[in-house]
Amino acid sequence: MATTTVKTETFVGKRIRRREDPRLITGTATYVEDVQMPGMHYAVILRSPHAAARIRSIDTKQAVAAPGVVCVFTGKDIKGVGAVPCGIAMPDLRVPPHTILATDRVYFVGHPIAVVVARDRYLARDAADLIEVDYQVLPAVADPEKALAKVVKQRIVSQRLVPMAMETRGVVAEWHGADRQLNLYTSTQIPHLVRTLVAGMLGLEENRMRVIAPEVGGGFGSKLNVYAEEALTGYVSMKIQKPVKWIESRRENFTCTIHGRGHVDFYEIAAKRDGTILGIKLKLIQDVGAYHQLLTPLIPQLSVLMMPGLYNTQNIRADIVGVFTNCVPTDAYRGAGRPEATHGIERMVDMLAAELQMDPAEIRLKNFVTKDKFPYPTATGLVYDSGDYATPLKKALDLVGYHKLRQEQADARKQSKYMGIGISTYGEICAIGPSPATPAGGWESATVKIEPSGKVTIMTGACPHGQGEETTFAQIAADELGVGLDDILVLRGDTAVVQYGIGTFGSRATAVGGSALYYALQDLKAKIKKFGAMLLESEDVTLTGGKVICNKTGNSKSLQEIAGATYRALKLPPNTEPGLMATRFWEPPNFTFPFGAHIVVTDIDGETGQIKIRRYVAVDDCGNILNPLIVDGQVHGGVAQGLGQALWEQAVYDDNGQLITGELMDYAVPRSHMMPWIESHHTCTPSPVNPLGVKGVGEAGTIGCSPAVVNSVVDALSPLGVRHIDMPLTPEKIWKLLATKN
């Protein structure tokens, strides 16, 4: 009789260390820059130093003649390549044609003009200096409001930010003329969409192109795009019939990869005297930049969708004005539209509380959509899936010791000390999303193969790139199949290996991609049971602990034995094919709507204006938690980027359209020593939208953070009559307020 010991160890819900980390922290992962090929050529792009100019002429003679140079292409040389795509269609949306190289006009500093190709990247770089471009410089517009008439209301700015992935972009293109095959390695969040769109731009059949996203060193939305350089590098490789590598410099990353935010919002909020919110009105000005990139027009729409926040009001009005400027385009950056909206709403609710002399916690508790109202339809057309908004706020208030802190604050104020307590209660739109509500399909795909040896291979269309799904997806499969984590391999990021997929963004990979995986696993389990029943000659079987067990005799067949039998196929169950593989494309019925409460306690140096964060309490509800370690990591990273926006980061263009914070010596990305201790806690309200009950947590930290920080600092300075301060909250801004109001 076979052994009936059943493996009982489960993985979901545990703090499992990330399986992707060893290669990342030992420097053995393969990024685009690490891809080497015999005969590699190197591309360097000449870019416009002017924000707005007419190109009178381009002289490439000297560059072409320079040592080691193979060829130089300018905009006029490029034939038959389609425009860089904008994926959003709307009535009246003006989408200017966006060629991969400029021809007669340039519209932002960094606009690509020519590409130099050489056997050596140093020689290519030197030759780029030899190209002579005759520009007629034109006046530039860098400030979106300068292009518009004045409106006076509460103006709240979500400044332009540089997404700042640690790995800059890069492309290696390898054209095999004889096979009519283009392999494109690119640092992207969306390899399949890049394949469809770049193949289209190059006029290549989609099945003749393979896109590989090797290790991706951070995206945050900046690699959720289709860029001119992807098509350009492919084009050059096809022309010279050689592999070509282009690696973006940090300087190019600053000026040529999309920026985030860049919203100027004018808010109005109306309420009854008792604090009941009646409605919210918004005029949103989006700094588009020089072109619409893939999702540029979608970002302010996400802001508007998010406008009700967690509050029970059906009166919402919004107008969006997109303004073209002579700056690099804006597009999705961690949170994409929701941080901007949450920042505005949470600031307005605090202002309302101050106006009505109510406590900011109390006014929120009064206006929350209550637990019994879910699913809750919003005025903006969404249906919030599940929620319990008061619980995380109350938990955060308890954790921080709110009432004692308010007493301490009252005492501090008597001694002219500035101490602030800031609350933000955020909601967000995750698991993007049902296909009808997304530009490219909102489903996700998964394939699970059980090899003849019983080892499990997962292929996810979601293309996670560092978020931890190599671990969480293995956890899900391990528990469903009753195998160990080491029996499982998760593959992603290669269109020749993985079935069509959408990608990782909008906190969707686990909620949508994990659900596709879950359903593929159910298909496989049914088949495993069928084969097990056949082999055990019994209908009454259970699949557990990696075995199919006969409930009567206790006899069992291991997954390995069954997998072997499905491929050997000596005998098949009725109406059953050999092999063990299942693919699912799962279409989510709705978005998910995570939420939470962040409370920030600040102390302000009355002499210098410096802000010190004393406490940071985050209570996030992202539904079921598959791996608390990974969830905390996502919250920490999100909060770091939220603090970056609140306190330090700003992409500043001068009036001539020059980016004056164009290097890391001037653009302040938070570093570890600048971080406060984050007290990360959770409540759990499972989502009814997907079988895992998960909601998504990739962007929560960023969304919850910035209003909590600004509310805290405004609270500290409120005795001086301060009502609002725009980000980043530099010490000088605070000092000026202290100096003028005191």
């Binding site: 210098t608 010596m665 010490p731």
Partner: protein, 284 residues
């Protein structure tokens, strides 16, 4: 971010290095300032001579009642030197305030001083310490004091072909207290304003005061008006306040994205007062 072509030599001796420098080569030490400029093509030296290849140039030692620091001593060497911690804590405190760990591991005192970035930290401390700099050329050697050494932004008394070989600082007695106070620019770590204070007390009165200021103007300088105002005073908060108020007197303050001239001037006063208070509190 690709530098122009250049030659590189790791010299075997100081003589070899000086010989190459005399024929137009440029020294490189930690490379923390030079390499970024080369990558941005703001500097394009044809030949680099690596001073860190000279093993015997990173010493920190006491001799003749003074402290001698070799040019290639890294910020980390200075920060972690037990000798300096005991005999010149102002320098260890200042070194520890520079940039981040990576920069402190690579960057050198000689490179920082020779580069003379107007926002660098060391120059404030070296002004307050009245440091002496040993400058050596192929043929001769000379010693220049801090007040004469720092000429302008990125400009020092170094002549072409000369290197800064050694920094010399005094050893103070137990009646002296020091402190370095800075506000860091959040992106680079450089000083928006940094103030180094060095004060001596005798029978309850300040007998000697030195204040070195960096970040405020084109070069690190000594705030002599404040120093004079302090001497003979009994160090009450009011004494300190009125002396600190003079630190930026007559100074044309820098203004940039990170801080306006007014704010910098204000910060100089605040940090001078804090540095003085801390320095006085440290007197044994």
């Amino acid at each position: 971010m690709i530098a122009q072509k250049f030659e590189y030599t790791a010299p075997k001796s100081l003589d070899e290095a000086l010989h190459l420098l005399a024929s137009g080569a440029k020294p490189i030490a930690g490379g923390m300032s030079l390499i970024p400029m080369m990558k941005l093509r703001l500097a394009a030296p044809e030949h680099l001579v690596d001073l860190r290849a000279l093993k015997d140039l990173s010493y920190i030692r006491e001799a003749g009642g003074q402290l001698h620091i070799g040019a290639t001593a890294s910020h980390y060497d200075v920060e972690s030197s037990a000798l300096l911690r005991q005999k010149c804590p102002l320098l260890t405190e200042t070194a520890a305030a520079i940039g981040d760990v990576q920069v402190r591991n690579m960057g050198t005192i000689g490179g920082s001083v020779a580069h003379a970035d107007p926002a660098a930290d060391y120059p404030a401390a070296l002004q307050a310490l009245e440091a002496k700099f040993v400058l050596q050329g192929a043929k001769s050697e000379r010693v220049v004091g801090a007040t004469d050494f720092f000429v302008d932004a990125f400009t020092t008394a170094l002549e072409p072909g000369e290197i800064l070989r050694e920094v010399i600082v005094p050893i103070d007695d137990a009646r002296t207290g020091t402190s370095y106070q800075k506000m860091a620019q959040p992106a680079s770590g450089f000083a928006i304003v940094g103030v180094a204070a060095r004060v001596r007390q005798n029978a309850g009165k300040i007998s000697f005061a030195r204040l070195g200021i960096t970040g405020l103007s084109n070069r690190a300088y000594r705030a002599s008006a404040s120093e004079k105002a302090l001497e003979g005073k009994s160090s009450t908060p009011a004494d300190i306040q009125s002396a600190a108020a003079l630190v930026a007197q007559g100074i044309d303050a820098n203004s940039d994205l990170h801080a306006s001239a007014d704010y910098r001037r204000h910060l100089a006063v605040v940090h001078a007062s804090r540095a003085l208070k801390t320095a006085l509190s440290r007197i044994a």
